[in-house]
Symmetry: C2
Subunit: 254 residues, 2 copies
Amino acid sequence: MATGRTHRPATRSRGIPEATVARLPLYLRALTALSERSVPTVSSEELAAAAGVNSAKLRKDFSYLGSYGTRGVGYDVEYLVYQISRELGLTQDWPVVIVGIGNLGAALANYGGFASRGFRVAALIDADPAMAGRPVAGIPVQHTDELEAIIRDNGVSIGVIATPAGAAQQVCDRLVAAGVTSILNFAPTVLSVPDGVDVRKVDLSIELQILAFHEQRKAGEEAAAGTAAVPAATREQSATDQGPDGDVPAVMPA
Amino acid sequence: MATGRTHRPATRSRGIPEATVARLPLYLRALTALSERSVPTVSSEELAAAAGVNSAKLRKDFSYLGSYGTRGVGYDVEYLVYQISRELGLTQDWPVVIVGIGNLGAALANYGGFASRGFRVAALIDADPAMAGRPVAGIPVQHTDELEAIIRDNGVSIGVIATPAGAAQQVCDRLVAAGVTSILNFAPTVLSVPDGVDVRKVDLSIELQILAFHEQRKAGEEAAAGTAAVPAATREQSATDQGPDGDVPAVMPA
DNA sequence: GTCTGTGAATGGGTTCACAGCT
DNA sequence: AGCTGTGAACCCATTCACAGAC
């Protein structure tokens, strides 16, 4: 779209590196913001700053998708938005179910970022009969008994688990048995799944513990450096590369 | 504690790899579960399975902390729990503030995983005057105006941002100015912070987009492989190595 | 015999630096 | 002259495989 590029993807080889995949949503967000401001083109330097990465990495990442830029000029914003969306599979509609409608489940149901990027909350499911029928974010909560039917009827392939830890594996098993092949797990447990099913986890307390580690380190160094060697420097773009596994999240086909 | 080990940390060199740090909380969780079941020792193989990693990685990780195992036997559970806790800085109390008490903020406030691991919610802060005084998770919400005073009075160094994207940078600036040096950001924005401040981000929609990418890939391959080449295999431990930044989350001193 | 701790080998990802297109 | 695209170098992380401690 936009400037009619005549490129064919060329090296449409298999395999975009996992680390690159994990950054595509970041680029997409930055590009969407530019698009809304009607900015027509952007350089790797500018876009990298907006996404919080360095420009060499960004160019390398884009090189895996194809040659979508123009030397001496930069990237066409609209065109890139389209290419990345397509690559991520966001040009199609993904119905998702959220299981476990506590505070977190409700937060997820209300989260605008889903709907805006091709994800549609097909159903909210909770084990508590008292929740049944009650609407959350305009969607009525259904009972766990309906889980299998909901998955099948809506062709759901992505499930979100926001239950307590104790229930997570059981819910996971049922989701998988019913046909779900991608799971986003917020429960603090290691889920086991069959081959071919992807699991990504988000764990709030783990993130805090990692911060605590660095925080402790800072405190130690400060003490070691005499009294007040506050390094507090000038405001700059933070890199915070938490990538795969916190780290580079390599979602692997289990 | 437990079996009096006489080791000195020996190679107590600087620098545990970031990828290792990101896994320590995982090991700690698995160990805590074993501890509750009063299991005295555990082999690298068993513990690795419980944490969802392979045993070579686990042993290498532990080797960075020191030689805390016993060849031919395994690791003393209690002793390891203590060592990892200490390494992560969880033997001290970390007061945290949560800013933005919507559904997500409330979910975080109610999340048990915090309190159980040395984190104490020192205050909940929201910009909406209507929220002020209302208790969430037993803690009264305070108005944003109080932010600086709360940080200073409680010696808070870790802040959690659960506000809408638009408010996040501003909140971040105020937190940093007031003395916070570690931030966990749930708002879908890139935050810029001065050197010396760590930021980790958790982005729900990014995780879903990564899943969608793999989901799309699966669908494509399935189609390519004729009709129904469902690989669905036997239930096994899922690796799902999402490490740094989704990837290996390298929290870097910005 | 068992299981840890770790050098060596391998593999991915990031960064550098520049050739090549506009 | 400017900015992309990419080989090459570098660095970090994972995996292998075994020596060494129990």
